[in-house]
């Protein structure tokens, strides 16, 4: 039986996708700005953030209206509540991209401390995780969501690499490098946080599909029965 409600759910999904795309774009631009030391691009990322915030609010209101007016149950209910959580995770991710852009502006006037190798790698991991998390939501792909969660360890590894290098190879040896090292550290941290949020999205997706809570309990990914 076709329901008018399905139309409304579709609109919510589309707008969430839009938000995800905007967040991914922000991540991408902020890293490009870092690589090119492009203050203008970085500023653009910062300015875009208010549009992202607006969209987040619209999505949230729409979801709350659906809850009040449609009294959704079961699958529909889980879809909407998961959508609301993903909504705020995406906004956090976009905020983190904005933070990265702030750091880029701080760094832009000075020469690069060192060639960027691990940070772009970490950025790529972050971008991929966000995209796959959203894909798993849209396609209700449990396997993909699981992959995202497990991939988070990769992000942690890369971040630790950056930390160790910047702290031990640079800051400990020469304290004056701190003005350029710390922002890089922070960028690495922001990227790693982005990965965390992406994995949260993935755990929420698993709940939506299977009504099974795996948040904070990655060992539950092991068994497949409901």
């Amino acid at each position: 039986m076709k329901r008018h409600f399905d139309q409304e759910l579709k609109i919510l999904k589309t707008d969430l996708l839009k938000l995800a795309t905007m967040a991914e774009e922000s991540i991408h631009c902020s890293i490009e700005a870092l690589k090119a030391r492009d203050k203008v691009l970085a500023k653009k990322v910062i300015d875009t953030d208010c549009r992202i915030d607006e969209l987040e609010l619209i999505n949230e209101e729409r979801a709350i209206d659906l809850l009040a007016l449609r009294q959704p149950m079961a699958r529909d209910l889980r879809f909407i509540t998961t959508g609301m959580k993903i909504n705020s995770e995406l906004e956090r991710i976009a905020d983190l991209a904005e933070n990265i852009a702030q750091r880029v502006i701080e760094l832009a006037d000075e020469p690069l401390l060192k060639p960027l190798i691990d940070i772009p790698k970490l950025a790529e991991v972050a971008r991929k995780m966000v995209k796959q998390a959203i894909d798993s939501f849209v396609n209700q792909d449990e396997e993909l969501a699981k992959k995202v969660i497990l991939y988070d360890s990769e992000a942690d590894k890369l971040r630790n690499l950056v930390y160790n290098e910047l702290i031990h190879d640079y800051m400990v040896k020469d304290g004056t490098t701190a003005t350029r090292a710390v922002p890089l550290l922070l960028i690495a941290r922001h990227l790693e946080r982005i990965c965390d949020h992406a994995s949260y999205i993935a755990t929420d997706v698993i709940y939506m599909i299977k009504a099974k809570v795996v948040k904070h309990h990655p060992e539950r990914l092991k068994n497949n029965n409901h």
Binding site: Q71, M73, A74, D76, L77, R78, A211, H226
Partner: protein, 252 residues
């Protein structure tokens, strides 16, 4: 488990050659509300009326299986249907006050059981009307006709009437379906309060109502019990797809 007030075992019901209920198995917990949902004609009312043997008045009906209340099968040959109905109260979909005064309505069950003590009857009537949250509204017109009450009040009167004989189980067949939202709300609040003392089974076609007031939920379809679980589970993560389709409005 002493926790279980009514145990329905392999219960089937036939109208002549038509099988209206197919092999139902349910445990109804004491002092809890069991909500029965399902599309029209799925057998919910038939099931409800099987619990107090009201279905027997239908000619050509027969049953298989057992309905065990407090450890005793109410369909045993040595059990009198009239007796068990004194322990199991019923409230009907359309409120059916008798064409008597409010007082006489509530006192009816007591009187036909041979109780003559006027003081006792008065006390019980007052008690029951209070339990049904109707006393304050009508205490000054106890001897007026029951027909002068509003729909919601009449339904609460029927509840008081059922409570007066001190049943342990209350069966309610869509008790609020003919009422406006305010009256419905009052009935729902009442059910919430009543479950402290009674075990309640309620049939409703309104899923939001089932979600609001029941602790356990049973989904019937075409005479079969499809799913039976805690209400919050049935409405957030039902285990059968057909249950989910029904409660999300994809059919029915």
């Amino acid at each position: 488990m002493e926790d279980i007030k009514i145990k329905v075992e392999d219960f089937s019901f036939y109208y002549g050659s038509v099988q209206a209920l197919k092999n139902i198995n349910i445990d109804v917990r004491r002092n809890r509300v069991l909500g029965i949902i399902g599309p029209s004609g799925c057998g919910k009312s038939t099931f409800l009326r099987s619990i107090n043997r009201m279905n027997e008045v239908i000619a050509g009906s027969r049953i298989e299986g057992r309905v065990i209340v407090d450890g005793k099968n109410i369909y045993d040959s040595n059990v009198d249907a009239v007796e068990i109905r004194k322990n199991i109260g019923m409230v009907f979909q359309k409120s059916n006050p008798f064409p008597k005064s409010i007082f006489d309505n509530v006192a009816y069950g007591l009187k036909i059981n041979g109780i003559r003590d006027k003081d006792y009857i008065s006390d019980k009537v007052e008690r029951s009307l209070k339990d049904a949250a109707l006393w304050k509204e009508i205490k000054d017109r106890l001897h007026k006709s029951a027909f002068e009450l509003s729909g919601g009040q009449q339904q609460r009167l029927c509840i008081a009437r059922a409570l007066a004989v001190e049943p342990e189980i209350l069966l309610m067949d869509e008790p609020a379906s003919a009422l406006d939202p305010t009256a419905t709300h009052k009935i729902e609040e009442l059910i919430e309060a009543l479950k402290q003392k009674y075990t309640i089974v309620i049939v409703t076609h309104n899923m939001q109502q089932a979600a609001r007031i029941s602790d356990f939920c049973a989904f019937f379809m075409l005479g079969e019990l499809i799913e039976y679980d805690l209400t919050n589970i049935v409405f957030t993560k039902p285990s059968k797809k057909i249950t989910e389709d029904y409660i999300t409005g994809r059919f029915g």
